[in-house]
Subunit: 416 residues, 2 copies
């Protein structure tokens, strides 16, 4: 008879092997992964995950956004399922663990229950959310955003990548556009295990981060327009160099974020220069500002100051500034009951832990709007993520999966 | 009997029609051209030019760099040819005249001589230099650089574009790698007609620029390295944002160029950000600084100050700075005799003119090192070039071709 005791643990070796097997699909150029959403590599990763789920006795549902839901039945036909999961897609130069750990940690949880013959009253569903990263098709967390009604399905399908390809077409091309209507599923709870993607847990020697809040986010896509002209024959006073606008706004973003320390952050990660030729003064620069804070007021003030000052900076250089939102959400506060289940699990298992704010956006931040939600974090080496050198230890992964197992079992109810 | 009188003029309508016909090949997206070097479009443009040359009774030679030499025989078998020409390749978002006017102006000159039955003692060779622009394969003026021995042929062949394709392979692929050894031709003189690519002639209402000097150039390819990390979960003090290095060096380039006014210029036209994702702090930025001045001392001081201060700027941000030269030449002074031939021609034809410095680099700047050389410039609207909206009038083009005709005839000697 299974009990929620400190000896109930996942199989860390098996979890690690699965992580390594998945990492073989869509290898990067420097030891990490390039398995961007709705690419051929993503399709191959999905097929492997599906096979593993079916081998573990689960049944797979796929919705119209391509999100995969692998279900392990419970004993009560009327009980709402407990959902776990994250995403299998990666950054173009991403790591092996960001997202993947949360999906395969959920799979390992089910495999462990199978090994031990543990049944739960509530079904358990392991989820792979489509396009969490948002690099190829902005915004990030696209499928979970559609799931909660933040975005329309048709709008999501129309998102284009840098080559002009549409998300909906690419999803269909790789064969993962399902029939199930998006967002119809009801959840008892949602738990997401994820690497921290920051340096705090490792620096403090903690095994587990109990995520109480997430950072809110504002993505502001900016277009600065000047005038293309020859770098050699245009006298300095006659130039309208959009590159200088980018330079000054880059420093402005930094200056503004520094006013709201220690929690706020701000940077520009994506920049396209037009026509991007060595001997042409940039006539146009398009870039996205990423502001985040767990404090809504800070987030709003940062955005407001940027939108007031950036046009002034550009005007002084003879440039024009335009902007649009390309992603935003307010800081989420996770469900106190689910957070307590995570904290209890870490305590019960004897793992050192601390409460933490999630610096990154996650599918859990959206799902938190429609279901009781919490997140479990494990450390990552040097805080490095969205980088091919992203790294964790087998022990950290196993501890995260153990905590996920206990939090889910406390919620899904072991059947005696 | 032809004489070098003010009634001896090219056919401006025919020149204009040829310019418009060539512009149909490799059309841009906004009315200009995208006929980048050694692309399929370049190959098609070359075939049209070859046909026109053969129709005009010229014979075509092609060297191992793909440079085309269309020869009209002279009466003296021992006389060195007078060369004219420029380039048919364009920027990715280029205009219809940059380079093309100089090649087709040379063709028009020959057609005019044919119309009038004028023979010259020296042969006349109309030249299309391969890869003047240097956008797809740096450095600019690649073929003329190999011609004068500034670059090795094999080195030129190994230049790669953004996709990793090699110049030599692409030249062969489009079928324009000739057998003729590069640089073997001896020239009596070289004349290049080109649009100004700057605002001076139009602003002063001059028909013709008599180019006495060119600007020297330093292209410095810089790599700033920081650390890729997540935009959300990396605290501000722990960031190594290569984008901030780019920002501060952009402003540094401007500041340095402003010290050497009114002749010097400086800007950054080409920027690649890695990994260029909205939610990843740039770990690396690669960009090229373009400094120019007609005064060698200014050019050297600008480069030296940049290379002293940019590493300091980066170090203060926790970044590293590396650089290499990706193109350089010292300010050329054109041949006094050839310059006088251009000035005489403008005088004789009654065109208003002024001496001018070429702001851009041109094949003539390289050829000036091995043969007496001069350039003729005509105005362009609003100084705009390297831009699809680049524009000139039919009258400006015709005046330029007329001056080219007279300068060449004065040098090639009309046979009575």
């Amino acid at each position: 008879m299974a009990k929620l005791g400190d000896n109930l643990r996942t199989n860390g070796d098996r979890l690690w092997d699965s992580l390594m097997d998945m990492a073989k699909i869509g290898p990067g150029v420097a030891g990490g992964n390039n398995r961007q959403t709705v690419t051929d590599a993503d399709g191959e990763g999905r097929r492997l995950f599906q096979k593993w789920c079916e081998d573990a006795g689960m049944t797979m549902g796929v919705d119209q956004m391509g999100t995969m839901f692998a279900r392990r039945e419970g004993t009560d036909p009327d009980a709402l399922p407990v959902y776990v999961g994250s995403h299998l897609d990666t950054q173009p130069t991403g790591g092996k663990y960001d997202g993947v750990l949360g999906v395969l940690g959920g799979l390992e949880l089910v495999r462990t229950l199978n090994d031990l013959g543990i049944r739960t009253r509530h079904p358990i569903v392991v989820t792979n959310w489509t396009n969490e990263e948002g690099t190829r098709f902005a915004p990030a967390m696209l499928a979970s955003g559609v799931f909660i009604g933040e975005h329309d399905l048709d709008w999501a399908y129309e998102r284009t990548d840098a080559k002009g390809l549409k998300f909906g077409d690419e999803l269909e091309r790789i064969g993962w556009k399902g029939d199930e209507q998006v967002g119809q599923r009801k959840m008892k709870a949602f738990f997401e295990l994820h690497i921290e993607q920051g340096p705090i847990l490792e620096a403090e020697g903690k095994d587990i981060g109990v995520v109480t809040h997430g950072q809110g986010l504002r993505w502001i896509e900016c277009t600065i327009t000047g005038k293309e002209s020859h770098t050699g024959s245009t006298p300095m006073p006659m130039r309208k160099n959009a590159g200088r606008g980018l330079a000054q706004v880059t420093e402005l973003v930094h200056e503004i974020a520094m006013k709201y320390q220690p929690t706020a952050v701000g940077a520009i990660g994506h920049i396209d220069v037009y026509p991007n030729s060595r001997n042409v003064i940039p006539g146009k620069v398009v870039f996205t500002i990423d502001f985040r804070s767990p404090i809504l007021d800070s987030l709003q003030k940062m955005e407001a100051e940027l939108l007031e000052r950036a046009p002034q900076v550009c005007e002084a250089l003879g440039l024009t500034f335009a902007h649009k939102s390309s992603g935003q959400f307010d800081p989420p506060e996770f469900d106190k009951g689910c957070v307590a289940a995570v904290r209890n699990a870490a305590e019960r298992l004897g793992y050192s832990h601390r409460d933490i704010v999630s610096g990154a956006g996650h599918d859990a931040c959206w799902i938190n709007k429609v279901a009781p939600t919490a997140m479990v974090m494990c450390p990552c080496v040097d805080g490095l993520s969205h980088h091919e050198a992203e790294d964790i230890t087998k022990e950290w992964a196993a501890a995260g999966a153990d905590v996920l197992l206990h939090a889910v079992l406390e919620t899904a109810e072991i059947v005696e």
